[in-house]
Amino acid sequence: MLREFQIHQPDTVEAASTLLAEYGLEAAPYAGGTELLLIMKEGLVQYRHLVDLKTIPGLNDLGLEGEALVIGPLATHRQLERSTLLRQHLPVLAELEAGIANARVRAAGTLGGNLCFAEPHSDPATFLMAWGASLVLGSAAGRRELPVEDFFLDVLQTAREPEEILTAVRLPLRPTTVRCSYQRFRLHERPTATVAAVLELQDGVIASARLALGGVSPVPRRASEAEAVLRDQPLDEEVFAAAAAEAGRAADPVSDIYGSAEYKRHLVAVLTRRALEAAVDHPAGEIV
């Protein structure tokens, strides 16, 4: 059950940040509340001050800024699954958003909230890492941008300082030779394992590869060993199999109720192979 708290309604990022700084550990940023309210109800955390970010205008916009697609942190999963702009530029991400949890969670839950909560089984984090997205954090002191890799520190822990809020998710637009895919294996409410692959092709050869693994470690991670196997190689079954095996080896999962470490490593290899095979058929910039 929820203990008592106040709700504050800032109208700028700076005002929100000031409130968070003022109340310190007693305050939390509040957007969709899909994870926050749950842990508050269970008594795992107690906050006497919720800073409602939804009263800050402009934080749920999607738009193109130069060479990047910029997504506001308060864009809900529902908004993203329906966004024509997103479907035009990154249909794989729109599809991913459509598959998160259920329609009610998608209606309230935000991309920013999902990323900042840093649940290890989070879907978007894996894809954003493979894509090479960056996150903009804002406070009364200003803004800073960091790559997704540097954002996730541990289970439920990110690089966001308590007085910062996420203000933008930036996805660089990539050439049409880029292919991507997102694969996941789900038996429970949250997926057991997720793999995202982003390949840049040149003349039938993999010019560069970015692979991210999610759900099988405290934070999503790049499978750099597997990426190395793919670089400068042709689109080839054996190449894919070798990269998949490497990704499985590199994953360092723990045995838990989702499955044994051995099985999760195997799943990573399977999902990697499938992601690579599917990526070939999925131009990043075409409406699927």
Binding site: R3, G43, L187, H188, I257, G259, S260, Y263
Partner: protein, 780 residues
């Protein structure tokens, strides 16, 4: 007069459908009493410990807290332990906690938030006791004992003989048939299949959690409870609180699902005790994670051996199984007995040896779940029959047709002979599955047939009140938990008194008003409560004919009932008109009663069951070789119902049971470690969704009028839960994937595909427990 009477065989619309779709249907959590307090329960975090100190002073002092209950508050009761089979359960822990989740205290406050806050202010100190959290540990020589079993009394409704618990064994059951020939038979047998199997605990997950309101009126106790068996709960509450049963009133609104999870007594005693201390009505509503440690299905280890001739004739079956009943017995003994009944399967054997034990462990208590016993054993026995078929070179349907019992043959010594035409049912299944047709590559097909002892103790009564306005009330204490009992019983009544069912109202169970029914479960309501309702309706019918006979001055034999009127040739009197003529005013009433009871002195477990419920199903599956995920293409369930009162509601029950069976087979599993439930929320325990549905499902009805109910009907609704997982197991075996541990998760299937098929573990005849039985000189 143009309304149609809706009787037996009609797909009548549910009488409760409208209020369930418009949000007006009331469940226990929707009811409010004046002055009602909100109750919350403090539960032990430890699975086995002594309570060394409990301090509730701070909690009591919190504004808005009216009462805090601990074990001290029940010391005035002469018998503060309950349990319908074994009275081993204290209302709230007194000195020892035996499972993680056991209630240690309870708070009643003006609102839930205050009660919740008060829980955090109760100080409890524990000192660990040795952990006995698994079957192996509980059965080990010298294992610490959970209970001082010598001091335990059998409960009011044990019903299985005078077995006295010992060590950590709460119950033992055996079946023997020509057992001195068992070993020689196995030695001679050309085909012997043996294995060890593991069956998981699952959570029934009725979507409405256990919810109880208790209110004392002087020395009388009123309870509104989400319970399936109001009369049994009444008896136990009366016993606990030193009352006469008639001083306890149990009222049952709609249940948001039951499936056995709300059978017998669950949260009623603690709610009543808290209300007693508070001096005001109290409602306690479990959260889902609380309900998951209130009841669950028994997990099980089993060893089974099947012997057959080279031609596939089944000869000998030996089974030993251990059911983990958790810290308190609940319905454990009955589950053991029913599982023993299901262990041989519906086959003709020369030799049968079954031993079953119910074992106490430091885990939450296990109780009833749909098709218990049969769900536990059918998949194992049927997998061995399939293996015999493979080794004998026989089609898996042919081996069954050859070995299945025929109607009238003995199922178990002393018990009711088989009352179903299983061979004909199997042929229906084969047709629905298109058994002989070529299978696409990578597709496995399997079937399974079994029996579930159904009916429980057959005592039930009903009253039909026909009123002067031509409407009737059917008073029964069957619980409407979704199965459609109010509708089906209305149809039985409408059949006899020619009244449309929308003129028959069926209020919920209320022990002050609705007459005695033993329970709602064991597939007994349409058959047994239905027979009572049928007899009550016949009584009303007789009275109507008699009254009309007097009014018309003719013999009742010349009269009939049709379309809510009495008819003499072309002349008719609608009931209200008949009443006016007979009673002389627009008033009066006809009351009909009906009752079912066993033969004098009968109704025992040993002579039963009341009928054998048929558990018959088929499956077609495919497996993703990469991940081991099983894809179910098709499921078929055969419902052998004798006579279908409402075919569409039967089909609806079959659909629900089938999907529960699929969930049980493929992914549902409560995972314990050191007595702690690791996946106690719906985030970590997956309930089947629309995406888990099979591609196709067929429900087949068999109506052979061979049941003990009205028109030869018999119960249905559980069989699929035993048959579907068994059929899936056999469909996987058809693909060379042999699993001895359920659920068949992707990981287990994947691992099975990595190793050799059917690497059976030799059965070591562990007769320790038999020796102990002989030492105590008890023969059972």
């Amino acid at each position: 007069m143009t309304e149609q009477t809706v009787g037996v065989g009609a797909n009548a619309t549910r009488v409760d459908a409208e209020e369930k779709v418009n949000g007006k249907a009331r469940f226990a959590g929707d009811l409010v009493l004046p002055g009602m307090l909100h109750g919350k329960v403090l539960r032990s975090p430890l699975p086995h410990a002594r309570i060394t100190r409990i301090d509730t002073a701070q909690a009591q002092a919190l504004t808005g807290v009216v009462a805090v209950l601990t074990g001290q508050d029940i010391q005035d009761l002469s018998s503060p332990r309950y349990g319908h089979a074994i009275k081993d359960r204290p209302i709230v822990a007194v000195d020892v906690v035996r499972f993680a989740g056991e209630p240690v205290a309870a708070v009643a406050a003006v609102d839930g938030a205050t009660a919740d806050e008060a829980l955090g202010l109760i100080e409890v100190e524990y000192s660990d006791l040795p952990l006995v959290d698994t079957l192996d540990k509980a059965l080990a020589d010298g294992a610490p004992r959970l209970h001082e079993v010598e001091s335990l009394q059998l409960g009011l409704f044990h019903g299985l003989g005078g077995f006295q618990p010992y060590d950590n064994i709460c119950y033992y059951h055996k079946i023997r048939q020509a057992d001195d020939g068992l070993e020689p038979a196995f030695e001679r047998a050309a085909i012997v299949v043996q294995g060890e199997y593991t069956f998981p605990a699952v959570y029934q997950y009725a979507m409405e959690t256990h919810t109880v309101i208790a209110a004392w009126e002087g020395k009388s106790l009123n309870v509104w409870a989400s319970c399936q068996h109001p009369y049994l709960v009444r008896a136990e509450l009366a016993d606990l609180f030193d009352l006469r049963p008639s001083q306890v009133r149990v009222i049952v609104p709609y249940l948001g699902g039951g499936f056995g999870s709300k059978s017998y007594t669950k949260m009623e005693p603690i709610t009543a005790a808290l209300a007693r201390k508070a001096g005001r009505p109290v409602r306690i509503a479990n959260r889902v994670d609380e309900s998951m440690v209130t009841t669950r299905r028994h997990n099980m280890k089993c060893r089974m051996r099947t012997g057959a001739t080279a031609e596939g004739r089944l000869v000998a079956r030996e089974v030993m199984f251990w059911l983990d009943t958790g810290a308190y017995a609940d319905n454990g003994p009955r589950v053991v007995a029913t599982a023993a009944d299901a262990a041989p399967g519906p086959y003709r054997w020369e030799h049968v040896w079954v031993d079953g034990w119910g074992v106490y462990t430091n885990r939450p208590p296990a109780g009833s779940y749909r098709a218990f016993g049969a769900a536990h054993l059918q998949w194992i026995g049927e997998s061995q029959v399939d293996e015999v078929a493979r080794r004998a070179g026989l089609d898996r349907l042919v081996i069954r047709e050859q070995n299945l019992l025929r109607p009238g043959e003995q199922v178990r010594p002393g018990g009711k002979p088989l009352d179903a035409d299983l061979v004909s049912d199997v042929r229906k299944l084969a047709a629905a599955l298109d058994w002989g047709s070529p299978k696409p590559p990578g597709v496995g097909r399997g079937v399974s047939v079994g029996l579930l002892a159904a009916g429980a103790h057959p005592v039930s009564s009903a009253v039909v009140r026909l009123e002067a306005d031509g409407t009737a009330a059917l008073l029964v204490s069957s619980t409407e938990m979704g199965q459609g009992v109010r509708t089906v019983l209305s149809q039985l009544v409408s059949q006899e008194i020619a009244l449309p069912i929308d003129r028959i109202r069926v209020p919920g169970g209320d022990t002050w008003m609705t007459p005695y029914d033993r329970s709602t479960g064991a597939s007994r309501s349409t058959t047994i409560a239905g027979m009572a309702a049928h007899r009550a309706a016949l009584d009303v019918r007789d009275q109507l004919l008699h009254m009309a006979g007097q009014v018309w001055n003719v013999s009742p034999n010349h009269l009939s009932l049709r379309a809510a009127a009495v008819w003499k040739g072309e002349e008719f009197l609608p009931y209200p008109e008949l009443f006016k003529r007979y009673f002389g005013l627009a008033g009066g009433e006809i009351v009909g009663t009906g009752r079912v009871q066993p033969e004098l002195g009968e109704g025992s477990y040993a002579a039963g069951p009341y009928f054998w419920e048929v558990c018959l199903g088929g499956a077609e599956v495919e497996v993703d070789a990469d991940t081991g995920r099983v894809h179910v293409r098709r499921l078929v369930s055969v419902a052998d119902v004798g006579q279908a009162v409402n075919p569409r509601l039967i089909e609806a029950q079959e659909m629900g049971a089938t999907l529960q069976g699929l969930g049980n087979a493929l992914f549902e599993e409560m995972i314990f470690s050191d007595g702690q439930l690791l996946n106690g929320t719906l985030l970590d325990y997956h309930i089947p969704t629309t995406e888990d549905m099979p591609d196709a499902f067929d429900s087949v009805l068999a109506e052979n009028e061979d049941g003990p109910g009205p028109y030869g009907l018999k119960g249905v609704g559980e069989g699929a839960l035993a048959a579907v997982p068994a059929a899936i197991a056999n469909a996987l075996a058809d693909l060379g994937i042999h699993l001895t541990e359920m659920p068949f998760t992707p990981e287990r299937v994947w691992r099975a595909m990595q190793r050799d098929p059917m690497n059976a573990i030799p059965l070591t005849p562990d007769r320790r427990h038999h020796k102990r039985m002989n030492q105590h000189g008890r023969e059972y």
